[in-house]
Each structure stands twice: as C-alpha cells, then as structure tokens.
Symmetry: C2
C-alpha cells in the first residue's frame, strides 16, 4: 500500500468539500437551479479576479481561455508583444501565430523575470502594438513576471495587457481592475482546487469594447456570446455542470479561509521549500523572482531528475513535476498551488531527502525538513 501525494502544479489535490459538491445529483443546465449555481460562481470569480466585470466560465483547459483571449481581442496581422520566458510564454507565441498575428517576441532567459525596461523599449519601438501578452507566474520556470509594473506602461491608452494567471490567480493577489489588466486567464485544476475541465477569463471594459471590433474567427470561444448568456444564467453551449458545482464549493472554501490568508499560505510554503533547498545545497531554478506556485530546483550533478521523479512516484507515492523542455532531466518542481498545507512541504522535502540517500547523493537526513519547519512555524500562534 502506497499513499499518494499529488504535489504537481496541476492537477492539484481536490478537497473533500469539492468532491462532495461534484457528486451531487446531475441537473439540467437550462433550469433556474443551474442559473442560481452559475450566478453564485460568477460572484465568487469577480472577487477572486478583483474585477467588477464578468468573468467568463468556459468548458476547456486553461489554454482554451488563452486562445479565447487572442481570438476575441485581436484581428489577423495585429501586432502584439509576447514575453517568452518559458514553456507558457511560448504558448502565447504559438497561439498568436496560429491566429496570424504579427508577433514581437521578448525572449527571456529561463528562470529570469522579464525586465520592465525591456517591455518599455519594445513598446517604444512598436507604438503600433495592439497587445502585450505575458504570464503572471511562468509555471515551467517557477518565476514571477512584474505584471503590475508592466500594467503601468499599458493601462492608459496603451496596448491591451493579456495575462496568463493559470498559476497566479488564487496563489497571489492579481487584482485586475486595480492593476489595469485587460484579460486575466486561469484554469480549474490549479489554485481553484478542481479537476481539469474549466477555464476562466475576465476582461476589462476596454477589452470588451475591443472584442466588438476584432475580426479573428471564433465560435466556441466567442466571449461576447458567452457573456450575454451567462449574465442571464445560461452558457452558450453545454456547461460542465458538476465542475460548476465544485467551483462554488472551492470559491466558498477560499472565502472562508480569506484570500489574504490563502496568498500568505502559498507564500509561506514556497519560502519553506526554498529554505529547505538551500539547507540541502540545491540550486533554485528561479533564485531572484521565485513564484509561490511552485519551487523549481536543479538536481545535483550526475543525478537524472527524471529517474529521481520516477523513484519518488513509484517507490514513495510522491508526485512532483518534471523540468520542462530544456530543463528536462536537470530540474524538478515542487508545487504549492491549491489545496496544500505545511505538511505537503514536509512530505516533499523528507521524501526528497530519502530519495537522495537512495541515489547516493550527499544528504544529512532532516536538514531540509528542519529548515522548512522554521518557516512553517510562522503560521502557528
């Protein structure tokens, strides 16, 4: 018997309250009952996204909502500036190219945050840019980009700012109205503590206006048609009913904990993991701008990260995430996103210590755990 610990940055563990909500009797979606559930979810999403506007619920993965942002807010050959600092920056790039946009790429070294100056320079060189696309938290490199500072450059009459918040919304504060973000996207299987299958996108007033003028083809992801339907309690196409039940439950859990405490919990788990890594003499993927969603670590020289991850999963039941693309085999990621707490950090760190021992890597058992405990103690009265 091996107990399983899912410490990947999505899918993430599902709380019992959410599981039970999703196990409710199925209902039809063109009913007052579903309209009430949808309205409850919409209210909760507004608070979470920090917006007075509608947040649209889509039955898709997070990538679907990214595509919806591009398809609704730009026309073919529109110029956009894409910050590409990892696998998900690259995803913006590929979506923009699929829609035949004219892409200006700001390439950022993996593990680094984009320099605000670099965005400013690109905006100066490309005054005709219609949009800037970026990640708030680049999951592949566990790095935070300076979205708030970039929004200062775009908000007053500048290009639209589209932010992939897939591992940011519910992890750290990204108040879209206050900062001036024009499109904010996330998926269900991260901090929303749900299975995969839902995506969310909030738009600013000027983004909704822009959506009326753009010419890119869209049908399933037509946000204006969803907005009209959802405001009246009904989605344009069949919604993922049980996931919306679960969404209400997860929003309730976040409300009960309090968003400030949710953010502080993620920050504390990430700091504890970084402290453990330092005590274990491991190099961080993103030492300067680490994301609280996940902590990326280089494995020691001579150790194959994928073999280590297989060992942790098969022998110990602990699922961490792999290094992606260039980092494959060289790095691992320990997630903190969603329904996670202090002992998830302890499990990850103690499992890593034990696996290091088995792999013949130098390790003093308990050292990483002790460093993590020192930070985790902060949460206790």
């Amino acid at each position: 018997m091996i107990k399983h610990y899912l410490l990947s940055p999505g899918p993430t563990p599902i709380p019992n309250e959410v599981q039970l909500a999703m196990a409710q009797t199925m209902i039809h979606h063109r009913t007052p009952e579903f309209a009430a559930v949808l309205e409850e979810a919409r209210q909760g999403l507004r608070t979470l996204f920090g917006t007075k506007n509608d947040v649209i619920i889509l039955a898709s993965s997070g990538t679907g909502a990214m595509e919806a942002g591009v398809a609704n807010l730009f026309s073919p050959r529109d110029k956009v500036i894409v910050v590409n600092g990892g696998k998900f920056g690259e995803r913006w790039l590929r979506i923009c190219r699929a829609y035949a946009l004219d892409v200006v790429e700001i390439k950022v070294e993996w593990g680094k945050a984009v320099e605000v100056n670099a965005v400013e320079a690109a905006l100066r060189s490309h005054p005709d840019a219609k949009g800037v696309l970026i990640q708030a938290s680049e999951t592949s490199t566990t790095t935070l980009h300076p979205v708030r500072e970039i929004a200062e450059l775009t908000r007053d009459g500048g290009p639209l700012l589209l932010v992939d918040g897939v591992t940011a919304v519910g992890v750290l504060s990204v108040p879209m109205d206050e900062w001036g973000i024009d499109a904010l996207v996330t998926g269900s299987q991260k901090a929303m503590m749900l299975p995969p299958g839902l995506a969310f996108i909030g738009l600013s007033d000027r983004a909704w206006e822009r959506a009326r003028e753009t010419a890119s083809p869209r049908f399933y992801f037509d946000l204006e048609s969803e907005r009209k339907g959802q405001a009246k309690g009904s989605t344009a196409y069949t919604p993922a009913v049980s996931l919306v039940f679960g969404l209400c439950a997860s929003l309730k859990l976040m409300r009960e904990e309090g968003l400030e405490r949710v953010y502080a919990r993620h920050d504390r788990m990430a700091r504890a993991t970084r402290a453990a890594a330092t005590a274990m003499r491991l190099k961080l993927l993103s030492p300067d701008n680490p994301s609280p969603a996940a902590t990326g670590l280089y494995v020691p020289e001579g150790c194959n990260a994928d073999a280590l991850l297989d060992y942790l999963r098969v022998q110990m039941g602990v699922t961490l995430a792999e290094g992606q693309d260039d980092l494959q085999g060289k790095a691992i990621r320990i997630a903190h996103v969603g329904h996670m707490g202090a002992f998830d950090v302890i499990v990850a760190v103690s499992a890593l210590e034990m696996a290091f021992r088995k792999f013949g890597l130098p390790i003093t058992l308990g050292t990483g755990v002790a460093a993590a405990q020192e930070i985790l103690l902060e949460a206790l009265d």
Copy 2:
C-alpha cells in the same frame, strides 16, 4: 485552510477504494446480490483471522463482539481469568461482571505485558476456570501481551482463550487456528480501514461447542443464530450493507498488498516512531513490549499532554490520541493502524517537533524526523 491528518488508533483514515465501494447504490439485504457480497467478505475474514471456521460479522462496535464472546461462551457464575493491563483489559472485566461471571483478575502495571508465569499460576490456582480473557494489543498502553505463549497453556483441554484483537487483527499476525485461540474479536474502524459500525468474531470448534451449552442471556448477539444465517448468505438482523461493501474493498486492498507486507509496514512505522521518540528524548509508554498499532509517549515534565494534543489538532490539523485514565495529561499516542504509511509517521513527528518548539520544550527541529527516516528507508528498493 487546515488539512486534516487522522493519526488516532480508530477511527482511522478510509482509503478511496473503500469510500467508493461504500458509495455504491444501496441494495436490499435479503437478495442473492447481498449474499454474494457477504460470502466474499466471509472468505476474506477467514484468511485474515487464520481460521477455517466462520468469522461472524456483527453490526456493532468492537465492544459488541467482546460482549458476544462472553455472552455466548459462559454461563452466570462461571469462573474466568481476566488479564487487566489497561483500559481494554478493564473492559473485559466489566463485561464479565455484567454477565455475573466469577472473575479472577490478573492486574498488570500499565505499559507492561502480562507475565506468562502469572497466567500459569492463576490457571494452577483456579483449575475450574472456564476462560482466559486478554488483549493481543492493549490499545490504551500501546502494549503487546504474549498471546501465543498463553495459548500454549490453554489450548489442549484448558479454559477457552478469548482474545480482543481490536488493534491486532490486520496489524500483526494472530493466526487463531495455528495458535489455538478460541475467540478472536476486532472492529471495523482500525486496521480494517472502515468507518466504525462493524465488529467481527471468530470462534474455534470447541468454542462453538461451548456456545451450545451456555446459559447467559443473548438475543442480538446470539452467535449460533448468526452463524446459521450468514452461512446461507443472510444475517439474522439487518446488516450494515454499505459497510459490508466497504469490507470487501478493504479485504481486497489487504490481499493485494499481501498480509506479510501489511504487518511489516505497521512494524516499520512503529519502529520509526520509537526511533524518533528516542532521538527526541521522550519516554515510551511501553518500552519492553511495544505494539505496532500505536506508539505511546510520555510528554516532558511540565507539559500538559492534552493541551499539546489540542494544539496539534486545532493549529496543525494533526489528530493524535490522548493518554487514557491514569495517563491522561501525561501521555500521547501516535497510531500506525490501518491506511497509514511512511509519511504519516513523518507528519506526526514533524508536527510534534514544531509543537514542542511552540510549547517552549527543548527540541532540535528535524532530529526526530531524521531518526524516523533512517528506519523508513528500509522499505525502499
């Protein structure tokens, strides 16, 4: 948000496989469908109890099965020898007295196992004794009694040996036929990985014979009437249907893991916890004959164990068990019974370290964890 870790010696955590089995559509119990489920459970229980005889399933707590043993195997004024080395030894005593038996008590200091010599002496002094009643694992003191050796004294023509195996069956090997145990009892909410609500009792051939001759009143707990019914696929009274669904699932999980591995896992978790305790300079409740079901620890002088347990539960979400009766406020118990693994030990020990720090007790963070890790590494290839 606090995640909950149930590390008490019953109720214990329920595996998902068991939860899902219990969530099956309710069926009627006088049907071929239920008869098939009951038969599957009966086969699995025979293997677990190590007996060719029937193991009776009762809708009651473990105490109900203890009472069933006494009510079916003795008549009023029968003399019995009761080993009382803790709260559950005392329970045998109280049940025997409720049934007006003539009780010879062997009082054992809490935390000690009974001396085989003491039982031998009692048998010599009371050749008219009809029964010996004992715990295999005394949960309150986390102590193992030498049941196998005592069975050597009773098995050939001696008094019946009734064994409370509530935290022994499924935790360590207690093969009733091989050892010569006459009645073996357990409950569902321990190593059976089920919610409370079912109890089990296996009887030897000579116990079934004795049951036909005894005069104690019984109706709900009449084992002969249950035996006849259950052999034909039906209980005498309404069975706890969903718990029996779950029972089949938990027996399947144990079968898949392999009983020897189940026992080795419990033993390893207990040794790891004792090693952690030693590294943390904590005194064991039962240093000489510790049970693998749970590890009892005295808290340091000046620390109130109940305040510590409250703190662990409320602030950290970690439920350990209290010291009972004389040990209340002085001791705590960390359970290993049922659906538990290596990281349950790590969680318990790391939580205890952090709580000690908060309580101002001397502790070097990570020392208990490191000692536990050294033992837990044994399980890894």
